[in-house]
């Protein structure tokens, strides 16, 4: 972190994000990783709106926004144009989970299949936050959103699992796919640098808790991101040519420690505790741990 902090800020202060905004931190770290020789293509979403209210911009590098769902296609065109002109800028997409998991899949699939030399960074705050906390394909099972509210007929909130977007992009033949978290900034920066220096389309999905949408105090953003990792509900890993090479190991905590601190999961505890639902979410964490082998065994040293 200290090393990252010393570098020049290309994503400047004064933007309109909420206090404690996870995505704003991701944007700042992203530009620390890329440096100046980059062109950023952004999708419509919270970050686009809070960082570029005309005539102000927080972006100290070339930046373009077109639509909600076409950022990967816009980036394809930029990359082709730079290639034709013999220019050296890296092309990086930044888009939220709604733009990435749902409405932008067509364009992303096309861009990755064609093999453009771009890096696509999805800042995953697990719902449509810009429009007021609606469910997206990235919303975790059991979370309450404004379109998956709890009620007498829906005591559990979101009934659907989170889509496995990294696997979908790895299946396109992406040479480098990684997940990251703003709780581990050096790791995120390192992954972005690896992605932009890997030829071909690379994907990074960075977990960016949203205090407004998830319902926690703005000072707890990093703590929440860290708890997601520590419970196994978010796994930081790298996939090189489709194979998981490295996943962050943890001494796992029960998911309840993560869930109970966010309003989006409050219905699991109040007015009556829903043990069955909590167990299902624990099972998701257990499956993650099994799939990525993240549990630190007894006597095995931590990373």
């Amino acid at each position: 972190m200290a090393k990252v902090e010393q570098e020049h800020e290309l994503f400047t202060a004064g933007h309109r994000a909420c206090g404690g905004c996870g995505p704003a931190l991701a944007a700042r770290l992203l530009l620390k990783a890329t440096g100046k020789n980059v062109i950023i293509a952004a999708s419509t979403g919270c970050m686009e709106v809070f960082s570029t209210p005309y005539p102000e911009t927080a972006w100290g590098v070339p930046w373009i926004h077109s639509l909600f769902e076409n950022v990967a296609a816009v980036a394809s065109g930029i990359e082709a144009s730079l290639k034709k002109q013999g220019r050296s800028e890296k092309v990086v997409c930044i888009a939220g989970d709604g733009a990435t998991f749902d409405i932008g899949v067509l364009c992303i699939s096309g861009a990755f299949e064609r093999g453009h030399d771009i890096t696509y960074v999805c800042y995953d705050n697990e719902a449509y936050m810009n429009t007021g906390i609606q469910r997206s394909g990235a919303t975790p099972y059991g979370a309450s959103t404004t379109t998956t509210p709890t009620g007498a007929c829906a005591p559990g909130g979101n009934p659907l699992p989170k889509k496995d977007m990294p696997a979908i992009l790895a299946a396109h033949g992406a040479p480098y796919v990684a997940t990251a978290s703003i709780a581990y900034p050096n790791d995120f920066v390192k992954k972005v640098r690896r992605a932009i220096n890997t030829p071909g389309p690379c994907y990074i999905q960075v977990h960016t808790p949203c205090c407004t949408g998830w319902g926690f105090e703005s000072g707890e953003t990093l703590a929440m991101a860290k708890l997601a990792i520590e419970t196994g509900l978010w796994v930081n890993y790298e996939m090189v040519n489709g194979v998981v090479e490295k996943a962050k190991k943890v001494r796992r905590k029960p998911v309840e420690e993560y869930l109970s601190r966010q309003k989006r999961f409050r219905h699991l505890f109040r007015p009556a505790r829903q043990d069955d639902e909590i167990a299902k979410i624990q099972a998701i964490a257990d499956a993650n741990a099994e799939r990525f082998g993240i549990d630190i065994k007894v006597k095995e040293p931590a990373e």
Partner: protein
């Protein structure tokens, strides 16, 4: 050099000579021959361009937007459903002032599914901020591409353009076309100089969001640029005439209109049929003429009013329908002639590729003379 060639190939040949640096397109009938020909030119090293084989028209135009913003001259072509899929991007491209030139091989829109010609596709995007040019024949479609790049890329304009020709009727038809050489095109169309571009040496933000304090001025600027495009088009069309001998400085062209009582108004290939029909009607003593509209956007309202100031009856042929209102061209011609005293009738004709013959044109003129109009012409009442 004069060659007999298919309309689509004439487009591809002239686009090649316009030296686009990035081409991004998705195949759709009847546009395919254009993009196939361009792909072959790239494969044969005749055209030094990045050719992006996108997965949809939506991405085709989105990629063009990115490439244009990064400083390249770009090209695409589409029609019908493909253009409909681009709807959102079209408005965005114009609002972001990217001078993209796109050929439209005009085709009807479903449902029902139809691959045949009318002009519903591009006309439905009349409010998107794209210039719209319509060609009568394959010489004109080739020429209009050069003019379109000149007009769009002019820093007084910086708007995109649809260069339209009728699908199949022109796109798949062989006609003699006088194609200029590369050197001649280079002399007419200079290399693209972007007004600004995405560049790490000079960072800027493009496509920001605007609050009510600013949004309206952005839209006003697009409208102002559209109006400025008229002067630019006149200049580009005149210079084209000086260099190539075919003058395109007029937004509208009259045919045997000087002493006409009845004027037909039309866009695209139907003008050719109308001219032949007019010749026959003239031979039979009828004072009929034609006003061909070349630029639907910007709309040449004053020029139309001037050209039709002496006629008493106007019959507009509309290859489109705005359901519940009328044909788009007719509606705007009526507005242009408001207060002129002329009787203006609109005829919805040739939708979904229904053939129009000389006798159909004569029948429309008869209807207009009898004061019968604002109707669908040639309906098969037995299937209604």
């Amino acid at each position: 050099m004069m060659e007999i060639m298919e309309g689509s190939h004439a487009v591809a040949e002239i686009v090649k000579r316009c030296r686009p640096q990035v081409i991004s397109a998705y195949p759709i009938t009847p546009q395919t021959h254009i993009v196939e020909a361009l792909a072959q030119m790239v494969a044969d090293c005749e055209l030094d361009a990045e050719y992006i084989t996108v997965e949809s028209e939506f991405s085709a135009l989105s990629a063009c937007l990115g490439a244009s913003a990064a400083g390249s001259r770009v090209y695409s072509a589409t029609t019908s459903q493909g253009l409909a899929l681009m709807f959102e991007v079209c408005f965005n491209v114009a609002g972001m002032r990217q001078p993209i030139v796109m050929t439209i091989a005009n085709r009807s829109l479903g449902a029902p599914l139809s691959i045949w010609n009318d002009q519903q596709d591009s006309i439905s995007l009349r409010d998107s901020g794209w210039l719209q040019f319509y060609a009568e024949d394959n010489q004109e479609i080739a020429d209009l591409h050069m003019i379109a790049y000149r007009v769009c890329e002019d820093h007084d304009v910086l708007l995109p353009a649809f260069v339209c020709f009728d699908g199949f009727i022109l796109s798949h038809t062989y006609e003699p076309v006088d194609l200029p050489s590369q050197e001649e095109v280079d002399a007419y169309l200079p290399a693209f100089t972007p007004y600004h571009r995405l560049d790490a040496e000079a960072p800027l933000s493009m496509g920001m969001y605007a609050t009510p304090e600013y949004y309206m001025e952005f839209r006003y600027e697009v409208d102002r640029a559209m109006h400025r495009a008229k002067e630019t088009f006149i200049r580009a069309g005149r210079e084209f005439g000086e260099q190539f001998g075919r003058d395109y400085s007029a937004f509208v062209e009259g045919y045997r209109l000087d002493d006409a009582d009845v004027a037909l108004v039309a866009m695209g290939s139907i003008c050719g049929t109308a001219k032949d029909a007019i010749d026959e009607m003239r031979d039979a003593g009828k004072k009929v003429g034609l006003l061909k509209i070349r630029t639907f956007r910007p709309f040449p309202g004053p020029e139309i009013a001037e050209a039709l100031k002496s006629v008493s009856t106007v019959a507009v042929l509309d290859k489109n329908i705005s359901f519940g209102s009328g044909g788009a061209v007719g509606t705007e011609v009526k507005a242009a002639l408001y207060g002129s005293g002329a009787a203006v009738y609109d005829y919805i004709i040739a939708l979904g590729g229904r053939d129009v013959r000389k006798r159909d044109i004569a029948a429309v003129v008869d209807l207009a003379e009898k004061g019968k109009g604002d109707l669908f012409y040639g309906l098969r009442t037995e299937v209604l």
